[in-house]
Symmetry: C2
């Protein structure tokens, strides 16, 4: 848990660790980070960091240990399939310094889908679970994820990851949800930046972000105001809107 999280029990934090050479080579475009990020925001957990590492045991171990020491929860995606390049479960066991073996509960889950003659060496690899882990049910293809300490190990295939996240979410401690309001400026970012900084200074406990985009009518800006406190949020939004109206009228 981060220092801030310890200081404020309303804040629950998380990190994502994406495991996979195919993401780093660009061959596969990740679809899980954005999904989990939005999901966490919606349930009141602050995603604080994401890392993507290759299918290399030492890299996975180092990242897992750095992230699990620092955040309330860690979510990993990828590397729990039936082939030789699926090394996540072994790496997590190494990170925690625990053993790993075929887990009878996981074998039973696989047996719901695969008849005995199809439960070959490769598929049984998906039943290798670190000692002491709880399983995460997989309603799509049966092979489970698992939870060890604060680390939640999920599949990389988006549909399976999403099903696992739905299983995991009700078990998570959640904080006070971060509220967010977006104000479209109708102005270029550089036209509002100086005044926006003053609004931010006047509302130090609210986070104000500014995001330029190109619309049909040219460059525009979304101002995003975030706070856990609805009254503080509303006060800052009102000041942002008044500031924008003044600039547009000038």
């Amino acid at each position: 848990m981060s220092e801030q999280a310890e200081a404020d029990s309303a804040v629950v934090t998380a990190a994502i660790l994406v495991i996979g050479d195919e993401i780093l080579s660009g061959r596969t475009k990740d679809k899980n980070i954005g999904y989990i990020a939005e999901y966490m925001t919606n349930i009141g957990i602050d995603l604080r960091e994401v890392r993507i590492v290759p299918d290399v045991t030492e890299e996975i171990v180092a990242a897992v240990n750095a992230l699990r020491a620092r955040y309330t929860y860690v979510f990993t995606t990828g590397g729990i399939g039936p082939t030789h390049d699926d090394i996540t479960a072994d790496a997590i066991a190494a990170a925690f310094g625990v053993g790993i073996d075929h887990d009878p509960r996981a074998i039973a889950m696989l047996a719901e889908r695969f008849p005995p003659d199809q439960l070959n060496e490769a598929r049984l690899r998906m039943a290798r679970i670190p000692a002491g882990a709880e399983l995460i049910a997989n309603s799509v293809s049966k092979a489970p994820g698992f939870i060890l300490g604060n680390v939640h190990v999920m599949a990389g295939v988006p549909s399976i990851m999403q099903a696992m996240l739905d299983v995991v979410a009700p078990t998570l401690r959640t904080g006070v949800r971060m509220l967010s309001e977006t104000v479209r400026a109708g102005l270029r970012e550089g036209d509002i930046g100086t005044e926006l900084a003053r609004v931010q200074q006047a509302h130090p406990e609210v986070a104000i972000g500014s995001y330029p985009f190109f619309s049909d009518t040219g460059p525009d800006t979304n101002v995003v105001v975030r706070s856990r406190d609805p009254e503080r949020l509303a006060a800052a939004v009102a000041d942002v809107e008044a500031m924008l109206a003044a600039i547009r009228a000038s």
Copy 2:
């Protein structure tokens, strides 16, 4: 530079650092990681790690210093706009322990787009460049990125980032390109995993990855074989194809 890169000058490595609360909140879905990843593969640079951090100076500094010590190149995206939450340039200066100020070359670039009365405090913020940095021209909206040491600081807006990457790419040292061939198995991953591991063992200097997907006809698998050596690649692909043919015939 990583140990492996030092041992083998044919290998050039890189990391991406995405900077931005909006990515971690899920409000904005990152489009730069996949683009840069594919770009690097195509020009012969191995992307080894990605991190996403919030708009917090200490987090940016820590990530930049960890990554620049370890990889040939670091590419950052985000946080170089005109508003108070754009803190990347200051954080990079802090990471390198150098000063930062308005740079006359950057002001001249901004002046190509903005008349003097529009070069306000906010826009001039985009001309704050760490001491000793080279600028990266921005053909889309003029505000430059910059290069300090091995760190390349680029915009977060995808169209601008892409234009900057095109400027930067010809200046990069590149290695021998990683070649890749994809073989569609027509089989489920668990049906080929055991034999695929044996092919991998027989070709230890080639990287074989296995990626399941759902096609119209049901679960299928792409086997991706990667090597810098075309002959080794061809030999491993031939063995993968023979192995798959034997399983399909069985």
